[in-house]
Amino acid sequence: MAKPSPDDRKYTKEHEWAKADGGTVTMGITDHAQELLTDVVYVELPAVGRKVKQAQPIAVVESVKSVSDIFAPVSGEVVEVNQALEATPELVNKDAFGEGWVARIRMESPAEFDGLMTAEQYEEHIKANPH
């Protein structure tokens, strides 16, 4: 069973989480998402400095059998990426909400962030859409 979604952050339909700290958002994929993927063996991180638009692919996460896009929860500029995922991609499975974070984005528009789902709304979403 997936770990409950922490309510200190927001969520997207595509199973990303976004945690705001001032004007910067840390993002990753949810525990539910990593459970569906099973063993993550490779993460393709974005380049620092890259500009992204909300809902555009920002990273790629691969299991043995599948390749999945991760989408930017907000528009902005990538200011940091989780280098640890290069050597230990399995952090995404072990601690999707913590050590498995993917990137930090300097937000363009706080309104975009406010428009994301709450933990409760996300939990409803995954109940209604198990895959």
């Binding site: 099973t38 063993d39 059998k65």
Partner: protein, 364 residues
Amino acid sequence: MKKTPLYERHLALAATMTEFGGWAMPVQYTSVIDEHRNTRTLAGLFDVCHMGEIEVRGPQALELLQWVMSRNLAKQQIGEMKLSAITNEKGGIIDDVTVYKRGDERYMVVTNAATREGDLAWILKAKEARGLDRAAVTDLSDTIGKVDIQGPLAQKILEEIVEGDLAALRFYHAMDSRVAGMPALVSRSGYTGEDGFEVYTEAGRIGEIWDLLMSIGDTHGLKPAGLGARDTLRLEAGMMLFGHEMCQTVTPYEVIYGWITDLDKEFIGRNALKKQKEDGVRKKLVGFEIVDRGIARHGYPVLAGGEKIGEVTSGTFSPTLGKAIGLAFVPVQHKEPGTLLEIEIRNQRAKAKVVPLPFYRRKK
């Protein structure tokens, strides 16, 4: 979609199911890596009921098989299993199969799931064309169930329910036996690169064998393994998959099947293959490793000197080796181990190098 007799068991084990060759099959039960590693270190149990079994019997059985098979079966002994290709007039591969000699004038051809109907039609067409009335061809696929048990503990587990001396059964040999009292063909062979067995019995009773093996195997650490692990295991072992490495426009010499092509007898495509052997092939299947970051997948372009020279036929992350491996067709001048290539992964290029096959060899 067709269902194997073991379908309900996969659902009960909460397997993630997929469609493969028209069949509903389990991809994984827990995770591909878990099932893969478990098969290499302990034992894995695979539902392979979807494969085809075609019986060829009678005084002209060998003559018919000699005509359609690339392999010379003249000296095949009862109990021996031989890998062979079925080739078309151009020497292109219609399927790769195993042929069991079960008795004088009695053979069983085991086919891939998706190609079984095509193989049957082809063999029947050849029988007609050659007027081989004294060869009876029967599709037994729906009456035969098959499971593979693979891994270092496979013998220990299977031994408990098989009659006869399993330890004495050599690789690529099969014996008629009884498994838990049911008639079964037990073959020491498989698709993983580990020691292991393929067990064929009545489709209606394969469930009992699955249940027994799962129950006995439990204390030994046997776990069911799905098509996901089946693919990573075979790829590590340098084994090919029809539809990926082979198709009708690929010949045995272009892949690693020169050794199952016996030009010393007549068969469909023999002349074309003889010519190709004399002229030399122009493209060749090779194994490669990514030395950069990234995972190569089926269909990704292969480059040399910045130019596309081929495509990846199969690629994955190897759980045993901890690196991305794959197979690809390249022009022959690029086939030597050590040759540097690039694989285009989405819009980036990852450095790769040609390596000898297999990627993994079990310790004996």
